[in-house]
């Protein structure tokens, strides 16, 4: 049970099987976008950030596992990160692009479920992380920034700036917190 102290935890959810969204994103970025020519891999991971009076990591993992509001354990795996120095399921050389729908990051259904199960009021936010790996020697952060924001049909892919924000990250320890940060426009936060 929670001791009442406010905590933050991040839950990273990825498909166990090959992810068709990531496969298509890789194919389109490599084939159609100049910034994606030297892309070697794309991984898509959904991320939930929970903040409030959370119980222990083990209890959070158990709650997430049994809820239908966060992920499906039969086809997805979940990695809970309980602190800034804890690893996330990314490689050190991957450039990360977090995409959130502006003003719609909160997940009321998840928050209601948490309240119902634990009696605690917890904020739940959700976004999508695109982890991008490039050929050696490529400026991964710069290319990821170019791929992040759509400008026209030849430039950008992952976020439409007219309703989405994006935030950069790198390596196995993404920003902490990441979704709860004060909101900025994608271009400003990424450059």
């Amino acid at each position: 049970m929670s001791d009442g102290a406010k905590r933050t935890m991040q839950a990273y959810v990825e498909l166990l099987a090959e992810d068709p969204e990531a496969t298509s994103a890789l194919a389109i970025a490599r084939g159609r976008l100049a910034a994606g020519r030297r892309l070697t891999a794309v991984k898509r991971v959904r991320v939930f950030e929970l903040s409030g009076p959370l119980p222990s990591r083990a209890e959070v993992e158990a709650l997430l596992h049994r809820s239908t509001r966060f992920y499906n354990p039969a086809k997805e795996r979940c990695t809970v990160r309980a602190g800034e120095r804890e690893p996330a399921p990314f490689q050190r050389d991957e450039a990360l692009v977090l995409v959130v729908d502006r003003g719609l990051e909160r997940r009321p259904a998840g928050e209601r479920w948490w309240k119902h199960e634990t009696g605690e009021k917890v904020e739940v936010r959700e976004g999508t992380v695109w982890a991008l790996a490039f050929e050696p020697g490529e400026d991964a952060a710069a290319r990821a920034a170019e791929l992040a924001e759509v400008r026209d049909r030849r430039h950008g892919l992952f976020a439409n700036p007219h309703f989405q924000d994006w935030r950069p990250g790198e390596g196995a320890t993404p920003p902490w917190p990441w979704l709860e940060r004060p909101r900025k426009r994608g271009k400003e936060s990424g450059s």
Binding site: E21, I28, D101, L104, D152, R153, L157, N160, Q164
Partner: protein, 278 residues
């Protein structure tokens, strides 16, 4: 038939192609389904283009985002620049917006993406939403609403999870509407512009249901006119003159339920435009 040829451009995951072809043929247009496996250059043989609804590429990454990068869009952009009509319905609208063809105000052959079709914003609910919505025809140069008086009300079905016209710059969508680039806006049954859900079914800025380019030959339309192509398809809850016509048609039991429904207006508008250009 007018002699004009229309291509219904199908990407994988599109699922409204058959009824779209049928509606175009009912408007007297020679129509061909053009699948994504064909060379894009073959599009040049057609006079107009319709991108139907569905889920192109399963909505991967974002609705319309992947199809917008397809080489087919380069060809469609070139044909649109020459004045050929291009209509995107629902997912087709999302593709046109993600490709920058709508509203298409800047960037020449490679127009900037100026707006988005964002996730629906609805009270107490999220996700996919379907209902009949009243749409008001606005004064615009759009070829698809040619022949319709501004103020005309059409009941049309909407069915989408991402149908909210939005722009990063506050007031941008409203400015487009004021400039005549919103041929259709959600309204109340009495014709007043919809101010809130459910009349505005997705929270679209300025209650915009469709946007077109300044020239009026490319339109991104969120409602599904092909699902309102006959009187018999008009929803039971729809009142007003369309509801009365529907009731009379069913009462007559003489086949008049297959007469033109409100959605045919756009396909007839296209046929009139193409006939005028012939």
């Amino acid at each position: 038939m007018s002699g004009a040829r229309v291509a219904v451009v199908q990407f994988p995951g599109v699922n409204c192609e058959a009824e779209t072809v049928r509606a175009l043929e009912c408007a007297g247009l020679e129509t061909e389904l053009f699948r994504w496996t064909r060379p894009p250059r073959e599009l040049a043989a057609f006079d107009a283009y319709v991108l139907p609804g569905g889920f192109s590429w399963q909505d991967r990454v974002r609705a319309g985002a992947l199809a917008a990068k397809d080489p087919m869009l380069d060809e469609l952009a070139a044909r649109a620049a020459d004045g050929a009509p291009v209509l995107g319905i629902c997912n087709g609208a999302q593709v046109l917006v993600e490709a920058g063809l709508v509203p298409g105000n800047g960037g020449g052959e490679l127009p900037h993406v100026e707006v988005a079709l964002a996730r629906n914003r609805m009270p107490e609910r999220t996700g996919y939403h379907t209902r009949w919505a009243w749409c008001r025809v606005e004064d615009s140069p759009c070829v698809f609403t040619r022949g319709l008086e501004p103020g005309t009300l059409l009941p049309l079905p909407v069915a989408h999870g991402e149908g909210r016209f939005a722009a990063a710059k506050k007031g941008r969508v409203e400015a487009l509407a004021e400039a005549g680039q919103a041929p259709l806006r959600y309204s109340r049954p009495d014709g007043a512009i919809a101010e809130a859900f459910p009349d505005n079914p997705n929270g679209s800025e300025a209650a915009v249901a469709a946007l077109c380019n300044p020239r009026g030959n490319v339109m991104a339309l969120m409602p599904h006119p092909e699902r309102a192509a006959t009187l018999g398809q008009v929803g039971r809850a729809i009142g007003g003159s369309w509801g009365e016509r529907r009731e009379r048609a069913f009462a007559a039991a003489d086949g008049s339920a297959f007469a033109d429904g409100p959605g045919m207006a756009f396909f007839h508008g296209l046929a009139r435009h193409l006939a005028g250009n012939a």
